[in-house]
Amino acid sequence: MRTQITVQRFNPDRTPEHFVSNYSIECDRGTTLLSALLHIKNQIDGTLTFRASCRAAICGSCLMQVNGVQKLACRVSLHEELETRGRLEIGPMANMLVIKDMVVELASFWKKIKAITPYVVADEGAASGAPTRQRAQQAAPLQNIHEELHNADGCIMCAACLSACATFEVSPGFLGPAALAKAYRFVVDPRDKVRQDRLMMLQEDHGIWDCVRCNFCVSVCPKEVAPMEQIVRLRRLSIAAGLNESVEAAHITQFTKVVGEEGRLNETRLPVLMLWGHWRKLFRMIPLAIKMFLRGKAPFPFKRPKGYKQVQAIFKSRTDRNR
C-alpha cells in the first residue's frame, strides 16, 4: 500500500522558518514509522534528521510527535496509525526547543533528572560526590523492592511524559514526570540514606505538588512507568513523613476530613480549611468567594446530606485499622 507521510521540518542552516515536507512511501502491515523514516533518509531525502538507535523501544531516542501524540517512532505501526487516525503527521516532540527536524534540545530534560540525585546515596559521604568503596550487598533489604518500585525503574528516558505534561507546558521549571518517578524510585530504595532530604526537596516549588494529575504522562509512557502514580505515592509518603503543613498537603488532608464529616465535599469549607494561616492566598480568594455567593454558587457551609452517618462509619473503619 502506498501512503503519504507529512513531516514538520526545521533546518536553520537553510531557512529560519519551519516548513513541511510530504513523502510518499510503500508500507505493509509490519512497517514501523522508524523504518519508513530510515527509508526516506536513505532513498528519498538525506536531509531528514531524527534520533534513533535500537529500533526496539529500548534506547528511548526516537520519541516524536505522531498525529499530535508523543510516541516512539520504532513502536508506531503505520498501518495501525492510519487505521485509527486516517493520516500520518509527524513532527518533533511538543514543548521542547527544536534543533533540527525531529531533533530537540534535551539538556533541560537531563537537568531535571540530575536535580533529583538519580543514584542511591548509601552513606552520607557519597552525597559529596567522593567515591566510596563498594560493600558486599545484602540481599535481604532488597527482597521486596520489586513490588515497592511499581515499575518506576522501567524508565528509558524517552522524555515522552515531559513533552506531554500539562504543567510543564505552562511552567517549564517543573521537575516533570520522569524525574519525579525517578525520585520515587530512590525514595523507596532501602539502601538509600537520604530519604527525608529527598522528600523535603520535593516539597519545593516545581516539585511533586505542581502536578495537576492530568494523566498525560501515564497515557504516553511507552514503558508503563505511570509517573503520575509515583507522584501520588510521593505525596502520600510526604504526608506520612510529617511534611503536612503546606497548602498542598492540606488539600488532601482537609478534603478527606470534610468528606469524612459531611459525606460530600463542601466547596465553601474546604478553601477556608486549606488556606487558613496562608493569608495572602486566602485573601486572593475573597473576591471570588463573594461573587460565587452572589451567583448562588456557594453552598451553605454546614449542610449535611442525610447519609453521612454511613460515610462516617466507613471513615471510622479506616482510622481504626490505621491505628
Binding site: N67, G68, V69, T84, R85, A166, T167, E169, V170, S171, W209, D210, V212, R213, C214, N215, F216, V218, S219, V232, R235, R236, I239, V247, E248, H251, I252, F255, T256, V259, G263, R264, L265, N266, E267, P271, M274, K281, R284, L288, K291, M292, R295, G296, K297, A298, P299, P305, K306, G307, Y308, Q310, V311, A313, I314, F315, K316, S317, R318, R321
Partner: protein, 299 residues
C-alpha cells in the same frame, strides 16, 4: 431507559445549574433517572492520595447502592466518571480486592458490591445507548449559528484503563453531539488538555496559565462558546477566565477579557431542546451567556 443518577458534589454544590439542566434534559429526552439516595463524594482522586482503600470503600458504597436498584449509573461529571468508573473497573476485575473491600464495607454499612454495575457519563449514554439519530429528532432549535469548542478535560479520557470509551488521542463523542444539535464543532489542540482545577488554591499561576491558553485557543479558532462534560472544568474556565486574562498573549490594543461563555453539556443540549438560558440556570455563570442567545435569535 433508566439509570441510577449520581450527580456528584459539584452539581449539588458550586454548579447547581448542572443538576438543574440535567433534570430538564433527561426528562425531555425520556431518559428515566433515580437519584442515588444520600450519595457520597467519589473522592475526586484526592482521597486516593490520602488512602486508596478509603476511596475504594466510598465508591463501592455508591456502586452497591446502584446494584441494589438493579440499574447502571449515570454521571454528569467527568471527574466523577473517571474516579467512580475507574474504581468500578478495578473492583470488577480484581476479585481479591473486591472481597477485601466488601468485608469492611459490610461491617460499616451493611452493603456489598458484586461488580455488576456499569458507570456511564451522560455524554456516552447519548452517543451509545440513546443514539444520535434519536437525539437529532428531539432537537427543536438547531444550533446552526453556533461554533462550539468541545473541552473534554482529563478524567473522562485518561487513563485509558479507566475509560475505554473515547480514544484519548482523538476523542469524538462531544463532536458528534455538537453536530447532532446542529452546531459546528471547533477543532483545537487544547480540547483534551487540563483545565488546571486541581491546583487552583495552591498553584494559581499554573492553573491560570492553563485556563488562559485553553480559552484563548478556542477563541482563536472561532468558537462562540465552549462546552464541557465536567463541572470542575466548568468552574476553572468560567470562574477563573477573567483572571486568566493576565496570562494570555494578546495583540496590542486587544482586550484581555475573552468573554467566552462556558456551557455544561446538558445546557448545550437544553438549548437545542428549546429550553431558555434561564431554565438552564445560566444566571449562575460568571461569564455572561447573553452572546449565545443573541446569536440564536439572529441578532
Amino acid at each position: 431507559m433508566k439509570y441510577a443518577y449520581y450527580p456528584g458534589c459539584a452539581a449539588k454544590g458550586a454548579t447547581p445549574e448542572l443538576h438543574q439542566a440535567t433534570l430538564k434534559v433527561v426528562e425531555r429526552l425520556g431518559i428515566e433517572i433515580v437519584e442515588i439516595d444520600n450519595f457520597n463524594c467519589c473522592g475526586a482522586g484526592v482521597i486516593t492520595e490520602a488512602d486508596p482503600d478509603l476511596a475504594y470503600l466510598l465508591n463501592a458504597k455508591t456502586l452497591a447502592a446502584a446494584e441494589a436498584l438493579g440499574l447502571d449509573i449515570m454521571t454528569v461529571c467527568g471527574t466523577c466518571q473517571g474516579t467512580l468508573g475507574g474504581i468500578n473497573k478495578v473492583l470488577q476485575t480484581d476479585e481479591t480486592l473486591r472481597n477485601r473491600i466488601n468485608v469492611s464495607l459490610k461491617e460499616a454499612t451493611g452493603l456489598a458490591y458484586n461488580g455488576t454495575v456499569a458507570v456511564k457519563h451522560l455524554q456516552w449514554i447519548l452517543v451509545q445507548d440513546y443514539g444520535l439519530d434519536t437525539l437529532k429528532r428531539a432537537v427543536v432549535l438547531p444550533l446552526n449559528k453556533l461554533a462550539i469548542a468541545p473541552f473534554y478535560g482529563c478524567y473522562i479520557l485518561r487513563p485509558a484503563s479507566a475509560v475505554r470509551f473515547d480514544n484519548w488521542e482523538n476523542p469524538q463523542s462531544l463532536e458528534k453531539l455538537i453536530k447532532a444539535l446542529g452546531a459546528e464543532p471547533v477543532l483545537y489542540d487544547g480540547r483534551t488538555k487540563c483545565c488546571g482545577f486541581p491546583v487552583f488554591l495552591e498553584k494559581e499561576e499554573i492553573a491560570l496559565g492553563m485556563v488562559g491558553s485553553r480559552v484563548a485557543e478556542a477563541k482563536g479558532q472561532g468558537a462562540n462558546a465552549m462546552v464541557t462534560p465536567c463541572p470542575l472544568c466548568h468552574m476553572s474556565l468560567d470562574i477563573y477566565q477573567e483572571r486568566s486574562g493576565e496570562k494570555i498573549e494578546i495583540a496590542p490594543g486587544q482586550d484581555r477579557k475573552m468573554n467566552m461563555p462556558i456551557l455544561h453539556l446538558p445546557q448545550l443540549l437544553g438549548l437545542a431542546l428549546g429550553f431558555t438560558a434561564k431554565e438552564l440556570g445560566m444566571k449562575h455563570h460568571f461569564v455572561s451567556t447573553a452572546s449565545i442567545d443573541d446569536r440564536l435569535e439572529g441578532k
